[in-house]
């Protein structure tokens, strides 16, 4: 067990407090989704000890926090590369090149979905609808940055700027 993973930084706790303040005092658990994202940003992924630390901080059972972490797709329960690229391949995106964009990234990086490059830099994921179908093909970088109209040239540019 890695003790570092069971500790959240004061900055992370301060951000979690701000989330907790959004809900009625007796409903701290409502902040668990945001708190897990804050923790994931800090650790790069969500080891079990980190999930337990979040649960303890919010006064909920570790299993209840783990249920949340394992239910929602964007929590990473395994280590990922420095850049996690998620490509939407759902039908509306596919009609405008989503599947082909994913193939293009696979070829460029030499990895398949759910794989990480040997240098630990990129992880590739297949995504579901991101609600931006008019901008297809769309990709998410590290869950939070949305990239639109990802034709070959834009993909090349994105991969080049991920240092």
């Amino acid at each position: 067990m890695n003790n570092d993973n069971a500790q959240l930084s004061p900055e992370a706790l301060r951000r979690i407090d701000r989330e907790v303040a959004k809900y009625p005092a007796e409903q701290k658990q409502s902040a668990v989704m945001a708190a897990l994202v804050i923790a994931q940003d800090e650790k790069g992924w969500l080891p079990k000890e980190t999930i337990a630390a979040v649960a303890e901080y919010l006064g909920m059972a570790p299993m209840a926090a783990y249920e949340v972490a394992s239910f929602y797709n964007m929590y990473d329960l395994q280590p990922v590369g420095k850049y996690k690229i998620t490509v939407c391949t759902n039908l509306p995106c596919a009609l405008s090149g989503g599947v082909h964009a994913a193939e293009y990234v696979k070829t460029k990086l030499g990895i398949d979905f759910n794989e990480t490059t040997a240098d630990g830099k990129f992880t590739l994921k297949e995504g579901e609808c991101m609600g931006a179908c008019g901008d297809a093909p769309v990709m998410l970088v590290n869950n939070k940055r949305m990239c639109s109209f990802m034709l070959p040239e834009q993909i090349d540019k994105l991969l080049a700027e991920c240092k």
Partner: protein, 443 residues
């Protein structure tokens, strides 16, 4: 950014400046928060306010089309703690209107929610925002800070006796949270598994308190309705289908994007606004209301007008207003395979017919697409959907079943060709070029 075009701009009036027009100063300059001020200063009664919304025949813009005023009137008057919740968990494939509303006009959503809070007697609200649009969530938080600083949120809004505060909550990748009770569970910090209904949220909602949940576009329409009056809003559309509506047009058109048109606008006009068919190719099929709505062949769709009643009469649903346009380069089996995978992946697993049925649908469509289909498979698919529809807590099972039934109904020969010849009717190279990803010679 997605292209925007409109007839009679209402919801999209604030979009003209794109990312430069979302702030509170800009919103106030175009008349924003004036309706909230009027409601509070005139001490409008809750009943009068709800009556005005009823008059507009605004119907829920999230997909179900339930009359908004009626929904508000279900809230028990006496309850001490009540909530207003906005559903911006926009994950229905093909839908991307709420994202643009939130990016370009977040204060319209905020004003609509405050007014709704006043109408139903709630003191707090939450806006649940799709996890994938985190940048939009951050902007909304900024907009909330602006509204708080200006006295529109917090204790004694604009010096009145009415207090209301509003917070943003983000999802993190679960389609099911677009279902209103799954969404409530998610705000409570749990897996987003839908609840049995009844009790409905108006009686037992967030934290067990009476709750009104509406879609983002529904809330955003409220200030405009109060500004012009319910009747004038209704008259923008057609009877029983009030106002204007945002349509997200995706797929094989020249200009995918959001378009605001009056209810009842012919589909052909909407297609024209979206720049017509990409490369001048022939229209094959349209899913008119998000991926859960039954697909319609071109010839039926071209006769439709864009409103709840016309699309329903044609055998589909207006749903969220997501219009997925497919041309002749599409293999309908492959298209259905991707949709079926989506429902299989997103089923929350709570109800057996959905958890197991969505897997069966995906696996059988997958084997047809991959040349392993059997002659009895189409009957099998229909039988599986029979055992799913109406047999689960929420509508995800129906949403998984509708595409399967409608694709088979309208494009049966294409499925039969696949099973018999173990390949697509549309040749692979044609399919490959259809997406527009590969420019000639570029890759």
């Amino acid at each position: 950014m997605a292209l925007i075009d409109t007839i009679n701009p209402l919801l999209t009036t604030g979009w003209a400046k794109g990312d430069a027009g979302w702030g509170i100063k800009e919103y106030e300059a175009r008349g924003g928060y004036r309706q909230l001020r009027r409601v509070l200063e005139s001490k409008m009664t809750q009943d009068d306010l709800i009556a005005e919304v009823k008059k507009s025949v605004l119907r829920g813009r999230g997909g179900a089309g339930f009359p908004t005023g009626l929904k508000w009137s279900f809230m028990p008057k006496a309850a001490p703690v009540k909530y207003v919740v906005c559903n911006t968990d926009e994950g229905e494939p093909g839908t991307f209107k709420d994202r643009d509303l939130m990016r370009f006009d977040p204060h319209a959503v905020i004003e609509g929610m405050i007014i709704a809070g006043y109408a139903v007697g709630a003191k707090a609200g939450y806006n649940y925002i799709h996890g994938e649009i985190f940048e939009t969530y951050q902007r909304f938080e900024e907009a909330l800070d602006q509204a708080r600083a200006a006295g529109y949120l917090g204790n004694n809004v604009l010096g009145s006796e009415f207090s209301f505060d509003l917070f943003a909550h983000h999802g993190w990748g679960a389609y099911i949270c677009g279902e209103e009770t799954g969404l409530l569970e998610s705000i409570e910090g749990k897996k987003g598994q839908p609840r049995y209904k009844p009790p409905f949220p108006a009686n037992f909602g967030l934290y067990g308190k009476p709750t009104t949940i509406n879609n983002t576009e529904t809330f955003a329409a409220i200030p405009f309705i109060l500004g012009m009056g319910g009747e004038a809003y209704l008259n923008l559309g057609k009877p029983n289908n009030g106002g204007t509506k945002l349509f997200s047009v995706s797929g094989h058109v020249n200009r995918p994007g959001n378009f605001e048109v009056p209810m009842g606008t012919p589909f052909s006009k909407l297609l024209e606004m979206a720049g017509g068919m990409r490369g001048g190719r022939k229209l094959k099929a349209v899913i008119p209301g998000g991926s859960s709505a039954p697909v319609l062949p071109a010839e039926i769709m071209m006769e439709c007008t864009m409103d709840y009643d016309s699309i329903a009469k044609a055998g589909s649903m207006l749903g969220s207003g997501a219009v997925i346009v497919m041309d002749e380069t599409v293999c309908m089996v492959k298209a259905l395979e991707r949709l079926s995978y989506f429902y299989y992946e997103e089923s929350c697993g709570q109800c057996t017919p959905c958890r197991e049925g969505s897997g069966w649908l995906y696996r059988v469509v997958h084997r047809i697409e991959h040349g392993e289909g059997r002659p009895e498979d189409l009957d099998l698919l229909n039988r599986v959907t029979d055992n799913m529809m109406g047999k689960t807590i929420c509508a995800l099972a129906d949403a998984a079943a509708f595409p399967v039934r409608s694709f088979i109904k309208h494009f049966k020969s294409e499925f039969e060709y696949h099973i018999e010849n173990k390949k697509c009717l549309v040749d692979p190279e044609t399919q490959r070029m259809g997406s527009g990803f590969f420019k000639a010679g570029a890759v």
